[in-house]
Symmetry: C2
Subunit: 275 residues, 2 copies
């Protein structure tokens, strides 16, 4: 008998992983949380039927969301991560010795607790002494912290339900106020193949508030279409060439200074979404 864990993607696609053991299942105040061991992608966490993180491919997402903006900043001391309750983005953030304080603002405390228990390699960074974990609404937190951060990372779920507000121009205006001069905001912005409207919406929200807006792309096998986008915003030109020695110290499997530079080359079909 075979057990399959399957995500219905945008109504017209589905992606499934053959499962070994169901380790945990609960309905939190915010969503259904499911942890399953799969054969092809190792341990997997699903939220409301959507693949959030898998042991096999999470490194690409977390490295690209964290290191592209952090390496674009000369001295990222205070970093805020909104969402990302599994801790993977924070794990990458605290690899930077420049970081003095990393705040994780995840609305659902159960996501963090479940990740600590079942996905220790992902949640590892949460125990770093520089990390502060808050379970609040990220939108309110950003509004309440003016000029407090050097980098804000938006590691949100899809633009449905509570995460919708994280895609609006008003939220990016609040992020701008929460940043110090020279600050950088960066968000996961969905698939250029199947969520072109979201890619466009995030770019518009960033451009409405920042002079520079850079889309960049990376593969994510367990997310719809297997190819994902990130959007960075700043009020200065984002550097294509970053410090190689600094990048090498991060001990990464996807991100490098070379990959950083290469990320500025965009295929015309994706470039067209943000122009």
């Amino acid at each position: 008998m075979e057990l399959w864990l399957e995500e219905l993607q945008l109504g017209n696609m589905r992606f499934g992983l053959r499962a070994d053991t169901v380790l945990h299942r609960e309905v939190s105040r915010f969503q259904e949380i499911l942890v399953v061991d799969t054969y092809a992608f190792g341990r997997v966490m699903m939220l409301d039927g959507t693949f959030q993180v898998t042991e096999k491919d999470e490194f690409v997402y977390h490295e690209m969301l964290a290191h592209f903006p952090l390496m674009s900043h000369e001295s990222p001391k205070d970093v805020l991560v909104i969402g990302g309750g599994d801790g993977g983005t924070i794990r990458e953030v605290v690899k930077h010795p420049e970081v003095e304080r990393a705040v994780l603002c995840e609305i659902d405390p159960r996501v963090t607790a479940v990740a600590r228990e079942y996905l220790p390699s992902v949640a590892a960074g949460l125990s770093d002494p520089r990390v502060e974990v808050l379970h609040e609404d990220g939108i309110k937190l950003v509004q309440d912290h003016e000029g407090a951060f050097d980098v804000i990372l938006i590691d949100s779920t899809d633009p449905v339900g509570p995460a919708v507000g994280l895609y609006s121009p008003e939220f990016y205006a609040a992020c701008k106020r929460a940043l110090r001069p020279g600050g950088i905001v960066c968000a996961q912005s969905e698939s250029p193949f199947v969520n072109g409207d979201v890619v466009r919406r995030v770019a518009q929200s960033v451009k409405a508030n920042f002079s520079a807006c850079q889309l960049y792309l990376a593969p994510l096998p367990t997310y719809p279409s297997g190819f994902w986008s990130f959007t960075a915003g700043a009020d200065h030109e984002l550097p294509q060439d970053v410090d190689k020695a600094r990048a090498e110290r991060l001990a990464t499997r996807y991100y490098t200074a070379e990959m950083h530079k290469a990320a500025f080359a965009l295929p015309p079909f994706a470039k067209a979404l943000v122009e």
Copy 2:
């Protein structure tokens, strides 16, 4: 009622597209051929239950397989495509005005016939007067043509059944003999995420016969893991900088001179497969 077209990938993954109409189904001498209209990826051709080509994402695969090696050659006059019976790779090859003769060697005449009828936008290039379509065994054809081609493209199915021979060092040795001096061979080489063994095998076969071996990557939503690799071989260094004006004339949606250069940056996890 919903109709789903689904591929079981490597036993432990599955990818499905919701289908509208089944347009064609036959069992040829070589394989089962299925053409279906899907909601998310347009018209799709499956061979033996494996997604081969979809209207929505085929441009990435065909552009990257054809233009990377052709743009790496100063004057690609004679080009051979092995496999690729749908015609998509040939369509990109004949965009190069330098090409005087493009030979398509597809073992199954029914694939070509079905593509001409049901996927005219993919098969378009097959009608170009410079194109010669042969329905033979690619291995034998290569053995019989010494010093005949400037570029050989291996657009094969997965390394099972009749395609296995196309992954061997002996086949690449024959390709080398079939190439003129300065010639380039380039093959699709499967997913760096889930077919690491194949990526490695192709690199070994290329390296056993050519002094230069370059892996490069591109997204392919309907192939396993959504991320694909290609491997190019030559007896000279492959150029990172190609003629921008020449690239622009190709009217592409994924490939550009900038994307060509960026393709040389490889994530460490993929680089490790070919080192």
